[in-house]
Amino acid sequence: MSELLVEGLDAAYGASQVLFGVSLSVERGETLALMGRNGAGKSTTFKAIAGILPPRAGRVMVRGVDVAGQKPYRIARAGIAFVPEDRQVFPEHTVEENLEIGERAGLGGREWNRARAFEIFPMLAPLRNRMAGRLSGGEQQMLTIARSLMGNPSVLLLDEPSEGLAPLIVREIGHLILRLRQLGTTIILAEQNSRFCLGVATSVAVIDRGAIAWRGSVEEFRADPAVQATYLQV
């Protein structure tokens, strides 16, 4: 059974439809890069899966259970952790309090807790009592990823974690995602930065104008410059 299986997802902002039958699946331990140009529908796909923008049609199966259209907190409890583009730490809570708010036993068990977060994200440990609003952009990104793991999710949806960060920090986030992959975390990574995400992903899906246009392994993607030329380069 797939950790997450999305079928025929339609989503719209008011009258303007943005997703047209998006279908995706990720298996346990897979890191899927969801790539696409600006405005292709990456963030909207995540919002529709997470219930923030309830889909108009389609199924969202988390370990075999359809959660499409449920409230975001129910979908989170079913095992989907969504890290939005703009990070959204709680600025007036400390790092540790941010983690605590996310802490919850998930279907995946109780493997993740604050102690483990500080172990896997060692850069956060000395900052544990600092207000999250006072962290750098990179530190905030680390914190939101760690916070979303506190709910012991089945699948992690990371929306452009490299956006707006210095190259050195992007590398650090890359290492972190690789580490999570080694730990068996299932991840979907929305990115425009193909160098970054090809370095950490195991497979690739390309979204174009609200529909999945290509799907394959990282090796197949690298071997197919036509895909990149058609769907990714401007």
Binding site: K71, Y73, A76, F82, I101, R104
Partner: protein
Amino acid sequence: MELTELAECVTSLSCLVTQSAAGLTIGMLLFLVASGLTLIFGVLGLVNFAHGSFYMMGAYFALAAYGVTESFAVAVLAGIVGAALLGLVFERFLLSRIYGQDVLMQLLVCYGIILILDDAVKIIWGADFRSMGVPDSLRHPPFIIAGGVVPYFYAILFAITAVIAAVLAFGMGRTRFGRIVRAAAINPGMVGALGINTTLVYASVFAIGAGLAGAAGALSAPIRSVVAGAGVSILIESFIVTVIGGMGSIGGALAASLILGFTRSFGSIGFPLFVEGAMFIIMALVLILRPSGLGGRRGS
């Protein structure tokens, strides 16, 4: 005005003690009401114009429970729990539908609640003034401190309100629930995305706010008259508190409530006909000098 008497009072230790004790007690009762109002606004974004009605209902629930049990402890608990449950009902069926809507809509719905509860009180308990009176078990000689008179019942009230305030501060500042509430006040969407049922958080916060107002109503029942419409004046004072203290700030509400409590107790000596006026002047001064209030963030 009797400003010379005020001058005499502040230079006499016994009078200072007597009036300060009264000011503290009045201020703390006001704080219970105002902290609920500010909490509900801070988290739910709702200006609860019906807040005074929960104070009134707390007093009536206490009166009813006291009539049956003759126990002040049971009466206070009945006031708190009754107002909280009533708040929960109104939150679920009415107020949760107007979160985020403009203040005029909130005013209209809350005014409806005020009318409903005032009439309900008149139907159930009648339109006459009622009073619980200080319970016999709590009638003791006053404490005499430095020549000043501190009524025994006032001391009891102060102790109870201080404990409630401490529990509130601890709950909001030091528990996971409090941290979730504060996070939901700033970013409910993200709190929900982390698997927390924000509807439940909102309902609990409203119930806590209504319960705090109910506590103040119940605690005041022995020393104030209980009557339909009794919530209005405490509501106005609570709004003054939130302006002085800063909307959404519980620490600010505590400071402002005590300021108003002292204004009332010392004002009753120095300018008995101008106590309310003095409160509005303090409010106006704060609005001019520090528009976001004592505990509010500047520029917000």
